[in-house]
């Protein structure tokens, strides 16, 4: 309901609603009570009126009788009547009737004949039409009553004797029941009086003419001595009907109008009070509600601002009440949230070491630039940072990175941004930079880096390699551009030429690489990855003592994907971390399966730098040995020399744990990296695999042969098994065997094979050996 949507309205509506309810209830009660009071009052009035009416009629009758008696006792009247002279009798009847206001005067003989009648002077004697009245008079000496006479009028009639001194005749006097009569009764009783003859119209009434007309049309015949409601001309009455002589009835009407008017006036006053009260309440409760809801609304608006991320406005509610307290809490919440958000933003967008923006911030910055304008993304990687870090320690390395950051920041063009990506890698985004300006920028940057940097009093020579990519030529999104720039940077580092443009180092990764991660994930689920095993042959005994597991991708469309096409990418993107656990599990299972069949070979698996630095690796290996009931010496982990050098300290620590587990460890591609002999000496490894680049040219390059021969000697001197891989000819094999190399591996011995083929092959070999 919209009526209750706001607190303000709800308060006002509830308050006003309650008041309206109470007022209505009060008005209803007053109206009800009024009706009841009017009803009771009316009934009381009518009951009293009905009682009084009888008394009044009796009294009236007695007075008329008395008056008639006095008249009948007048000597002249009696004398005139006694004369029996018609003319005289009529005259005296008229005269004396006029004296007391009788309209009708009659003389009756003692036996009840009308002998004189003022209304019909010429008529012959006839019987008196109201025998009952006469009988009553004969018994009581006089009588009175109401009768409808021949003229159609209603009369109050009294019959009194003419005494001379004995009764000689009766005189009948008739007093018309007229409006004046009714008015007199109305005055005395306070009721409206109407006299109606049965079935006839109204004879007398104290009612106003229009009401009399209304009464004539009203079915009053149903009235009796019980008060009943009656409506005349829209006015309310209560009425009773009382018998009035044998042929007439008297209607007593009590008008409700005066009482109703009093109550109407009362109700009107109450309505005015109620209306003003409600009006005051509406104003008052809206005022109150506003005082309550206003600060609440202010708080709500403040909350909305905070929700929208605007923490700059202080909450301006200073009420001394609970809302004020709420506002104060709100205010401290606002400042707290603002401070925390600032901190979060800093953590999210800032590199804590150098205070520079981080990769995320840089990506947002690039996304915020005009997408149609050109932009430059440059990646700078310090050369030889790792040795400095190793030699002088992390704190020095960190301070060096901070100094480098400051120096790079000082060279930043006004519309550019500098970020530290990770380690010793920094990146720039410069809007609007084109080929020429980028080259200038790169030259200035590299020149600036050549100035020695002083850290803790030591002057350090640093240099960097820079890779530059352009939007939109090399890509549109941050990941692509950074990747292209990094590739260029690696190229520059390899060529030691300072900087390289992405466009100069050829096409980017083949298009299939862009969707490679998704495909690799699907491949893992669909078990498209398979392991091939290449035998490791002990040259002295000519026995297969091991097998190196090699990852292959049997792609449903592209066929067998060469390892070089996806493994570096998996390592770069970190997807290798999802593949390695699967691979290690497969290798362990395969080793266990072969052992079941009596094939006792040490199965090797390759680990990338990321795998080696993964803290979960040791636990995983322990679990695998456990699950497959393998002796640790049944498995060998091969780590390239370059992988070791990414984080030599952590690598050493993990290798120590793996060695402690009893696993065999092997250094792969030895000779291609920068491992120092002192570092090599400290490694807990069992095997050294000479990089195959040396083996392939044994026959043609005396220098390589010398390196191999001395490496074999070195390995043996350190107590290591020396492995030569990439043996492609019998001459090389023989040379190596002669040189004392322990184990050989290569196409000449066998290509990598699927596990069943390997098993078949090794069993066949065994038969051959036995020969």
């Amino acid at each position: 309901m919209t009526l209750f949507r706001t607190l303000e309205r709800r308060i006002a509506v509830v308050f006003v609603g309650l008041l309206v309810f109470v007022m209505l209830l009060m008005l209803l009660i007053v109206a009800r009570s009024g009706e009841a009071i009017i009803m009771a009052e009316s009934q009381r009035q009518l009951a009293a009126g009905a009682r009084n009416f009888g008394k009044l009629v009796d009294r009236d009758q007695r007075q008329l009788e008395l008056a008639a008696s006095v008249l009948a006792g007048d000597f002249g009247f009696r004398e005139a009547i006694a004369t029996q002279d018609r003319a005289t009798v009529h005259s005296v009847l008229r005269n004396h009737g006029y004296r007391i206001g009788a309209r009708v005067m009659m003389v009756l003989s003692l036996n009840g004949e009308v002998i004189a009648d003022t209304q019909r002077p010429d008529q012959a004697p006839r019987p008196f039409p109201f025998g009952e009245l006469l009988q009553a008079a004969q018994q009581a000496g006089r009588s009175g009553g109401v009768a409808l006479m021949a003229d159609g009028l209603l009369y109050q009639i009294v019959i009194v004797p003419i005494l001379a001194p004995v009764r000689v005749a009766w005189v009948v006097m008739g007093f018309p029941v007229e409006d004046a009569w009714a008015a007199e009764f109305a005055r005395v009783s306070g009721l409206d009086v109407s006299v109606v003859a049965t079935g006839e119209s109204i004879h007398a009434s104290s009612l106003l003419p229009e009401l009399r007309g209304a009464l004539e049309k009203t079915p009053w015949t149903m009235l009796d001595e019980q008060p009943r409601p009656l409506t005349l001309d829209d006015r309310n009455y209560h009425a009773v009907a009382l018998p009035f002589g044998p042929q007439a009835r008297v209607l007593l009407l009590h008008s409700l109008e005066p009482s109703e008017a009093v109550f109407r006036e009362l109700e009107r006053i109450l309505e005015i009070i109620a209306a003003s009260g409600i009006a005051l309440f509406v104003v008052g409760s809206f005022g109150l509600a506003r005082r309550i809801a206003g600060p609440v609304n202010t708080l709500a608006k403040a909350a909305q601002r905070i929700e929208a991320g605007d923490y700059s406005h202080a909450v301006a509610v200073t009420a001394p009440d609970e809302i004020g307290q709420l506002a104060a809490s709100f205010e401290s919440m606002r400042t707290g949230i603002a401070a925390r958000e600032l901190k979060i933003i800093r953590l999210a967008y800032e590199d804590t070491l150098t205070g520079l923006p981080n990769r995320t911030r840089l990506a947002e910055h690039l996304a915020g630039l005009d997408p149609t304008a050109t932009a430059m993304v440059a990646v700078l990687d310090l050369d030889r940072f790792a040795p400095i870090n190793d030699a002088l320690g992390h704190p020095v390395g960190d301070r060096l990175l901070q100094q480098v950051g400051e120096r790079l920041a000082s060279l930043l063009p006004p519309q550019g941004m500098l970020a530290r990506l990770w380690g010793d890698e920094f990146a720039f985004v410069v809007a609007g930079a084109a080929d020429e300006s980028a080259r200038d920028f790169a030259a200035r940057l590299l020149a600036a880096l050549r100035e020695p940097i002083e850290v803790d009093g030591q002057k350090l020579d640093v240099s960097g390699s820079l890779g530059i990519a352009f939007r939109p030529a090399d890509g549109r999104d941050m990941d692509t551009l950074l990747q292209r720039a990094e590739l260029a940077m690696y190229a520059a580092k390899r060529r030691q030429c300072g900087y390289a443009l992405a466009e100069d180092i050829g096409a980017g990764p083949p298009p299939e690489q862009l969707s490679m991660i998704g495909e690799m994930r699907e491949a893992l689920e669909r078990r498209e990855f398979v392991l091939y095993y290449q035998p490791k042959l002990a040259l002295a005994s000519n026995r297969v003592v091991g097998a190196e597991a090699l990852l292959r991708w049997q792609h449903p469309q592209r066929g067998l994907v060469p390892p070089g096409r996806f493994i570096p990418f998996a390592e770069q993107t970190g997807f290798i971390r999802e593949i390695t656990p699967w691979l290690l599990g497969e290798v362990a299972a395969q080793a266990a399966a072969w052992r079941e069949r009596g094939i006792w070979v040490v199965v090797s698996a390759n680990l990338s730098a990321r795998d080696l630095l993964n803290p979960d690796l040791v636990g995983l290996m322990r679990d695998l040995l456990d699950v497959h009931q393998l002796p640790p010496s049944a498995l060998c982990l091969e780590i390239t020399e370059s992988a070791l050098m990414e984080d030599p300290t952590l690598a050493l620590a993990h290798l120590a744990e793996l060695a402690a587990l009893g696993l065999k460890l092997s250094i792969d591609d030895y000779g291609a990296g920068q491992a120092s002999l002192s570092y090599l000496k400290s490694l807990p490894v069992h095997e050294l695999k000479i990089d195959q680049s040396f083996i392939g040219s044994l026959a043609t390059s005396p220098k390589d042969a010398a390196i191999v021969r001395s490496t074999i000697a070195l390995g043996h001197a350190l107590g290591l098994t020396v492995v030569a891989e990439g043996i492609e000819g019998e001459a090389d094999l023989d040379w190596l065997a002669a040189a004392g190399c322990d184990i050989g591996q290569g196409y000449f011995i066998s290509r990598p094979m699927a596990a069943p083929a390997f098993a078949d092959w090794i069993l066949a070999q065994a038969v051959t050996c036995n020969d």
Partner: protein, 186 residues
Amino acid sequence: MTVKTPAGAPVKDAAVVLEPTSGTAPPARQRAAIEQRGREFIPHLTIVQKGTAIDFPNHDPFKHHVYSFSPAKVFEIKLYAGKPANPVIFDKTGAVALGCNIHDWMEAHVLVVDTPWFAKTGANGVARIERVPAGAYRLRLWHPRQKAPAADSSVDLGGAMRKLDLTLDVTPRVIVPRPPVDAGGY
């Protein structure tokens, strides 16, 4: 003669009249009087022979106004004190009701008959007519408040005393209220 109601109560002031069926009665040579005393006519009933003069002596210390509207004798003696100079001669037979115009309750009756032989009953209902010559008579019975006229009857009288029992139904006398005597010296 004893007059009783049908219920057997003696009737006071009943007139018993003997009219000779043949010949004429001797003319009246009498005078009668109806006194006004103590605001009453005394006696209540007077029977006279036709032609009798009746005096209306007033013994009260205030005036009376005697009247009659009866057809047998209409007369009026306006406010007088003491004995009026002239008596009223009742020269027609019939019943005459007398009233006083000043005192409504005062009532007297005069029965004018054409015979000298009449009597009225006392409180015991007994009336006695003496010295009636023997012969045939018509016996009439009358009372001022008789309910119905009694039928005449015939009686033959010899020299001996006759005793007759008669019956007449009368209404009780209407007591007209009157002010007390000592009230203001009326």
